[in-house]
């Protein structure tokens, strides 16, 4: 394998990581506000299909907007049920995923196995893109991939360097204390949940507009669930999401590479590998109970109803 091929594999790894970064960052903010939304997979699928429909009819910008809007609408459905109507978050999130799988299959029928007229294109950073090896690896990507990195930095800055981030974390740590201080817990959680929806939608759009591109039923292939696991893996810290996403992106690429090389392992084992790896990683992170307690939002998944 020569240098060019290695660079190509690494680029594929970065691309594979992008949808996970979007979805996991969104869920991280949701969980930091104390809400557990297990509907990421459903929101991603709706984002993927809406993004593809928008892009086929009106171009990429509209497609991306459609994807985010679809994710937000799905997340607001979740928000109304869990925040306003105080329903069980786990059950509602699962219902959102099952509903999203069905609805996306349904609205996507006319668009199955159709193609986009163009590709999204790459942005080459002048001069830097010409550096050998590093240029194509770091400075020659589609705009959404850059966006995922920018959003990662923004979320990190927002959570730990702004007043808004402090309030969000306070709501997630103790909604009663935040409520007593006069913050509207429900309103803040609605905003967080909607942000999570928009990001999951973007993650889905990355799949249907850039990575595949195209629309097929269930095309997320459990990436929504892996994103949920990444949030735990990252112990709710944005920058660690990046490491986790690269690891999983790398695993997927390794899988493709191993299959093409005809390694003596059964193909099924290779396909199961990302899921087994997720379990191993979760064990390694979770066995340190003190670290989880220190980093997990203390009110995660607990219902809140303001009594006055």
């Amino acid at each position: 394998m020569n240098e060019d091929q290695i660079v190509q594999l690494l680029i594929l790894m970065l691309k594979g990581a992008s949808p996970l970064i979007f979805a996991a960052l969104g869920e991280l903010i949701v969980e930091k506000s104390g809400v557990l939304n297990l509907g990421v997979e459903g929101m991603m699928l709706m984002g993927a299909v809406a993004g593809f429909i928008g892009a086929s009819e009106y171009g990429f910008v509209v497609g991306i907007f459609f994807a985010m809007a679809a994710g937000v609408l799905m997340s607001l459905l979740f928000g109304v049920l869990t925040l306003s109507l105080v329903s069980n978050q786990v059950a509602t999130g699962l219902a959102l995923t099952i509903f999203g799988i069905g609805l996306s299959a349904f609205v996507g029928i006319p668009f199955e196995s159709t193609k986009l007229e163009s590709t999204i294109g790459v942005i080459e950073i002048p001069l830097l893109a010409d550096i050998p090896l590093l240029g194509p690896l770091l400075f020659k990507h589609d705009p959404l991939l850059y966006l995922s990195i920018v959003l990662l930095a923004l979320v990190s800055w927002f959570l730990y360097r702004t007043r808004g981030g402090l309030i969000l974390r306070a709501v997630g740590e103790s909604h009663d204390a935040a409520h007593a201080l006069g913050y509207s817990v429900i309103k803040i959680r609605y905003i967080a949940v909607a942000f999570g929806g928009a990001m999951a939608g973007l993650g889905g759009a990355y799949l249907s507009l850039v990575l595949t591109p195209g629309w097929e039923q269930d095309m997320t292939a459990q990436r929504g669930w892996i994103a949920l696991a990444l949030v735990v893996f990252a112990t709710w810290r944005p920058m660690r999401v990046l490491v986790g996403a690269w690891l999983f992106g790398g695993l997927t690429i390794l899988n493709l590479w191993a299959q093409s090389q005809g390694i003596g392992l059964p193909q099924q084992l290779l396909t199961a590998l990302p899921f087994l790896a997720t379990i191993v990683v979760l064990v390694l992170i979770s066995r340190d109970a003190a670290m989880i307690r220190l980093n997990a939002p203390a009110s995660l998944g607990k219902p809140f109803h303001p009594t006055s």
């Binding site: 069980n88 069905g102 349904f106 459990q222 099924q268 379990i279 979770s286």
Partner: protein, 366 residues
């Protein structure tokens, strides 16, 4: 004017039973709107989805065949859900149960004495339990979130299934099409009518056992206390760890049984794909049935009807069967939304200033 939720002093009995009925009505209405939006006749769509599948005797038999694994899985899962243990990997446990039960039939092949089916049932349940024991162990030993591990194991189980039917359990006599050989006739459950088989009796037994456990057994009460008031459970000395293990083993055994029943019915082999997501839909069944055995039985019949309705729509209106999942999710949304009315009442406040003291008095009198 604003709308406000007020906690009820006692939960509403009327809403407890009326809520799901209203939720079903809302699902039908939304369904009709959807069909109209697609340019199909809403009445035809609703008829094809909810009524046409059960207008014939074979249809009723199919309904029982589909409802059986759903209700068995759901009752197993509901014990965990009552105890705040979130096993969402019943699909994987069901698959492993079917692999183990099927492997037992193939190991005895061509022997098909009555004992073979008994061994198959035991192997199916043991397989489901073993698969469920993994997340239970990880949760109780390493504190790993069981939601993610049980789900990830489902996808591992799917790959295990594919490996088994293309490798060790591949039909030795057939072409290389990935499936096992057919089980001998004696290893199948007997036919009652049409496609309905005696395995339906397992569903009845599980429903009864679930009801007894939840309402009459001390351990069932302990599960409820751990689920609803963990601190009270600690004071009373009820072990959370034990509830985790119990929940997973019961759910895994039930799911394994459901998988075994599925392959010893009309399918009678290990095919490439045999479950339309029973393990996932069973979660919906559990919540739509409000974690009560009778409610879950009704919910399982309803979800089975939606599976059949999905097939019917594909046949009649050329819509994808995935639409069944959409209706199933929709119904669960409405049931979850209606649940708020059990614990809260909705009050519309016209002008917030004057009526506030009045409102709080009225609320206390409820």
């Amino acid at each position: 004017m604003r709308v406000k939720l007020e906690p009820r002093v006692a939960s509403s009995q009327w809403m407890r039973y009326g809520g799901p009925v209203m939720a079903l009505a809302a699902t039908v209405i939304v369904g009709a709107i959807l069909f109209a939006a697609l340019g199909k006749n809403p009445a035809n769509g609703i008829y094809a989805f909810f009524i046409a599948p059960v207008t014939t005797l074979p249809g009723v038999a199919d309904l029982l065949v589909k409802a059986t694994p759903l209700v068995i899985c759901a009752i197993g899962l509901s014990i965990g859900f009552r105890g705040n243990v979130w096993n969402i990997g019943a699909e994987g446990q069901l698959i492993v149960g079917a692999v183990c039960g099927g492997a037992m039939a193939l190991a005895f092949y061509p022997d098909d004495g009555w004992y073979v089916l008994s061994f198959m049932v035991l192997a199916g349940m043991a397989g489901g339990m073993a698969w469920a024991a993994i997340p239970a162990f990880l949760r109780s030993r390493f504190n790993v979130n069981e939601i993610l591990t049980s789900l990830m194991l489902t996808y591992v189980a799917i790959e295990l299934w594919k490996y088994m039917i293309t490798g060790p359990l591949l039909d030795p006599g057939g072409s290389s099409f990935p499936q096992s050989r057919e089980f001998p006739p004696g290893t199948l459950f007997g036919v009652i009518f049409e496609s309905a088989r005696t395995s339906v009796l397992f569903a009845v037994a599980v429903i009864l056992a679930g009801w007894l456990f939840m309402t009459r057994a001390l351990q069932g009460f302990k599960v409820d206390v751990v689920g609803q008031a963990i601190q009270a459970a600690h004071y009373a000395g009820f072990s959370q760890r034990r509830v985790v293990w119990l929940s997973f083993l019961v759910a895994g055994g039930a799911a394994g049984l459901a998988g075994l029943i599925e392959i010893t019915g009309p399918i009678k082999q290990l095919p490439l794909k045999f479950t339309p997501g029973y393990g996932f839909v069973a979660i919906i069944v559990a919540f739509v049935g409000r974690l009560h055995p009778v409610g879950m039985t009704i919910a399982a019949l309803l979800m089975a009807l939606m599976f059949l309705g999905g097939d019917e729509l594909q046949f009649e209106l050329n819509l994808p069967p995935a639409i069944a999942g959409m209706f199933q999710g929709l119904l669960l949304f409405f049931v979850l939304a209606s649940e708020v009315l059990i614990r809260f009442r909705i009050r519309v406040i016209r002008s917030a200033r004057r009526t506030a003291p009045e409102a709080s008095q009225a609320g206390a009198g409820e």
